[in-house]
């Protein structure tokens, strides 16, 4: 049903037989258009708000002192961190314990690591052996700060360093 034509002739105009409006209302269009533009622009600004500019997460670099009694190849997990540290032939290595599948924390065991959530298994080098995990566990940068203290940077990965049984 198309809308067109003006008033029909008749003795008494009424609401049911209305006149057409002038079609070209530039002022009205400009006014409504600028209002819509302003509201749209405001909406864009408001949509920026939920994406935080800074995250409250602390520095991923931390210091850790290894216990004297830690045997070669035995995992040490500093409290509150999802990183496992090993002594290996006089060096110290760190590997992330965050499962690459969906972020659960893997547990070290005799053969490597296993994830309790969906059954992924990783060998001692962090490589996936079975389960849904798509990638190997990353090895992290460790710096010797002297005095038995090491600085682990969980934000920096290093090439995998397999831990062979000595």
């Amino acid at each position: 049903m198309s809308v067109h034509t003006g008033r029909e002739p008749g003795p008494r105009p009424s609401r049911l037989d209305p006149p057409t409006l002038p079609r070209r209302d530039f002022l009205g269009l400009a006014a409504v258009g600028s209002a819509a533009a302003a509201l749209f622009f405001a909406l864009l600004g408001m949509l920026r708000l939920p994406k935080a500019a800074v995250l409250p997460s602390p520095s991923r670099k931390f210091r850790v002192a290894l216990p004297e009694s830690l045997a070669d190849g035995e995992a040490f997990i500093p409290p509150g961190r999802s990183v496992a540290l090993f002594r290996h032939r006089g060096q110290v290595r760190a590997i992330s314990t965050v499962c690459t599948h969906l972020g659960c924390i893997v547990k070290p065991d005799a053969g490597g690591f296993h994830c309790p959530c969906h059954g992924s298994r990783f060998d001692r080098a962090g490589e996936v052996q079975k389960g849904p995990a798509p990638a190997a566990l990353p090895w992290l940068e460790v710096r010797d700060a002297g005095g038995g203290v090491y600085v682990v940077d969980a934000g920096k990965t290093v090439p995998p360093a397999p831990l062979e049984q000595a």
């Binding site: 002022l27 009205g28 400009a30 006014a31 409504v32 600028s34 209002a35 533009a37 302003a38 622009f41 405001a42 600004g45 500019a53 800074v54 409250p56 997460s57 602390p58 520095s59 670099k61 931390f62 210091r63």
Partner: protein
């Protein structure tokens, strides 16, 4: 067409309101994305980077987050050179890397040491130079005062030993090889690299001092065998043991906070704790200074202070003339030198005592708070300097401050010759109620018995007067008639000590603590011999203005004075 006109007006209003809104939104977006100070700073930083590193540098907010300390410091959004993963640009103070300090700023944040408003991202807000921010930054010149936030109980040695140790260190030319607080040290010749000797700026913080003297001697012998001379021969020679001990004191105080130990040692030589408690130790006549460095400048009265309205400005002016800055202040004008004022201001700024989890407490704070160890040396000289010197003078000569009653000269030989150690102990322990002398043993934060003994020993040492021989008589041996003493007291004593012994120019005798501490011998001998250097004459020797008192007259006066002990 009134209706059409009206709708036209509405459309105009709508159009212009909308356009105005659009313009405001546009300006707000521009200001937020282009004009923010940290963005301007980071763009300048990126421009100053080498070409190849510009691309990987993103202009974004940066911060240091330390949840345990409740720290989220955005300072590194402008001071980009100190941000994680960035390197400083030398030459530009804004973009420089953080100087090497004892603690990694990345694990402690910025505001813990420097103060200011870490959450802010504009210069004035972040530096705290705005209203409604109680903790502005510590001025850069006094930056190491920030150590006091956690190191509340930094141990300080005796001031004069520290100064002598420092002087010896300089005199023996240790700075020829070693670097201390940006001074001294020599680069090794040739391409050997490094310094001739290690940097000793933090020798005291690195654990126990090694036996440096023995190892230096061994090295000296080796050097003399292999090479002929070198710096070892010209710079090092064996030190006598007492000098070694003084150098050790100096080295132990090198903890990476230049100036702080010296300032604190000065504070503990001027007797400030005699009135002011710090960390719960000290008198209670003056305000508690434990958190003086955290006072909100917005809450201070600056009517008597010229210049900038900052805490350090207020403190400096206050040390120059306490009464002008705090009307009615009971603090005497100590006539300090400008250098001393700078140091005391520095120490005051360091009195911060921020609430931090115990895991962050330094060892000396734990030793002090948990095991009761003093943060100052506990030899008699330091204790005297810490608690007594402000009123009784640096060498016990007594002080007269304008508008205050005179403070007694306690190292005076005439006094120490009649005052036995027990009298001194009682006096220090229980004070003089009603006067400014506090009871040091009766209160928390006072002196411990062995410390009181050390102070007494120090008094004896200063004056060179040994304790009087033990008195075989009981404390109250005078048997005379007090009625006979009354007119004598009225004639000879009441002028200075008051008709009812309430004191005036002379001390109050009707004082319970004095009566309890003093023996009859003490009163008797004091009346007989008098006090040199005070208005108290010796009544056994004649003077032009009055006659002498016979021993029985003195005894009757003592008996009269003793009435105040029996019926206080």
């Amino acid at each position: 067409m009134a209706g059409a006109l009206r709708v036209r007006a509405s459309k105009h209003l709508l159009l212009w309101s909308s356009l105005g809104t659009l313009a405001l939104l546009g300006w707000a977006a521009y200001a937020e994305n282009r004009l923010q100070e940290w963005r301007v700073a980071q763009r300048a930083y990126r421009q100053a980077l080498p070409e190849d590193r510009r691309a990987e540098f993103a202009v974004q907010l940066r911060q240091v987050v330390v949840p345990a300390l409740d720290v989220a410091d955005r300072c590194v959004s402008c001071h980009v050179g100190m941000a994680a993963g960035e390197s400083g640009l030398p030459g530009d103070p804004l973009f420089a890397a953080h100087p090497d300090v004892a603690h990694d700023p990345g694990s402690f944040g910025c505001t813990v040491c420097h103060g200011g408003q870490g959450r802010a991202t504009s210069r004035a807000d972040a530096h705290g130079d705005v209203s409604h921010w109680p903790g502005p930054m510590i001025p850069a010149a006094d930056a190491f005062a920030g150590c006091g936030s956690c190191h509340t109980h930094l141990e300080v040695p005796r001031q004069d030993l520290l100064e002598r140790g420092h002087a010896l260190f300089e005199r023996h030319d240790c700075l020829a090889c070693h670097r201390v607080e940006e001074r001294g040290g020599t680069q090794r010749p040739g391409d050997a690299g490094g310094m001739e000797g290690p940097d000793l700026s933090r020798a005291g913080a690195a654990g126990p001092l090694p036996d440096w003297h023995a190892s230096h001697l061994r090295r000296l012998e080796q050097e003399l065998e292999t090479a002929a001379g070198g710096p070892w021969q010209s710079s090092f020679a064996p030190l006598p043991p007492e000098e070694r001990a003084l150098v050790d004191i100096y080295l132990r105080s090198r903890v990476g906070a230049p100036g702080l130990v010296e300032s604190k040692a000065l504070f503990h030589s001027l007797g400030c704790r005699g009135c002011h408690p710090v960390n719960g130790v000290g008198g209670d006549d003056g305000p508690d200074l434990t958190r003086m460095g955290q006072r909100d400048p917005g809450q201070l009265d600056f009517t008597g202070v010229e210049g900038k309205h900052t805490l350090d400005g207020w403190l400096r002016e206050h040390f120059r003339a306490p009464g002008r800055v705090v009307p009615g202040s009971q603090m005497p004008d100590l006539a300090l030198s400008e250098e001393e004022i700078d140091r005391l201001t520095f120490y005051m700024l360091s009195l911060r005592r921020t609430e931090v989890p115990e895991a962050f407490w330094p060892a000396d704070r734990i030793r002090a708070e948990r095991f009761g160890q003093r943060e100052f040396a506990t030899d008699g000289a330091t204790l005297y300097g810490t608690f007594c010197a402000a009123c009784h003078g640096p060498v016990g000569e007594g002080m007269r401050y304008p508008g205050m009653p005179a403070f007694p000269a306690i190292a005076q030989p005439a006094f120490l010759a009649v005052a036995g150690d027990e009298f001194l102990r009682q006096t220090i322990a229980h004070g003089r109620p009603g006067r400014r002398m506090p009871a040091w043993a009766d209160r928390e934060g006072g002196l411990r018995p062995e410390e009181i003994d050390a102070v007494i020993a120090h008094l004896r040492e200063m004056s060179g007067v040994p304790p009087p021989p033990p008195d075989p008589r009981p404390r109250r041996w005078v048997q005379a008639d007090p009625a006979a003493g009354a007119p004598l007291f009225a004639a000879h004593c009441s002028g200075c000590h008051g008709p009812a012994g309430g004191g005036g120019e002379g001390p109050a005798l009707a004082n319970r603590a004095l009566q309890a501490a003093a023996t009859d011998t003490y009163f008797y001998e004091t009346i007989r011999r008098g006090r040199h250097g005070t208005a108290m004459p010796g009544f056994s020797s004649p003077s032009p203005s009055r006659g002498t008192l016979a021993p029985d007259e003195i005894e009757s006066i003592v008996a009269f004075i003793r009435l105040w002990e029996d019926t206080p």
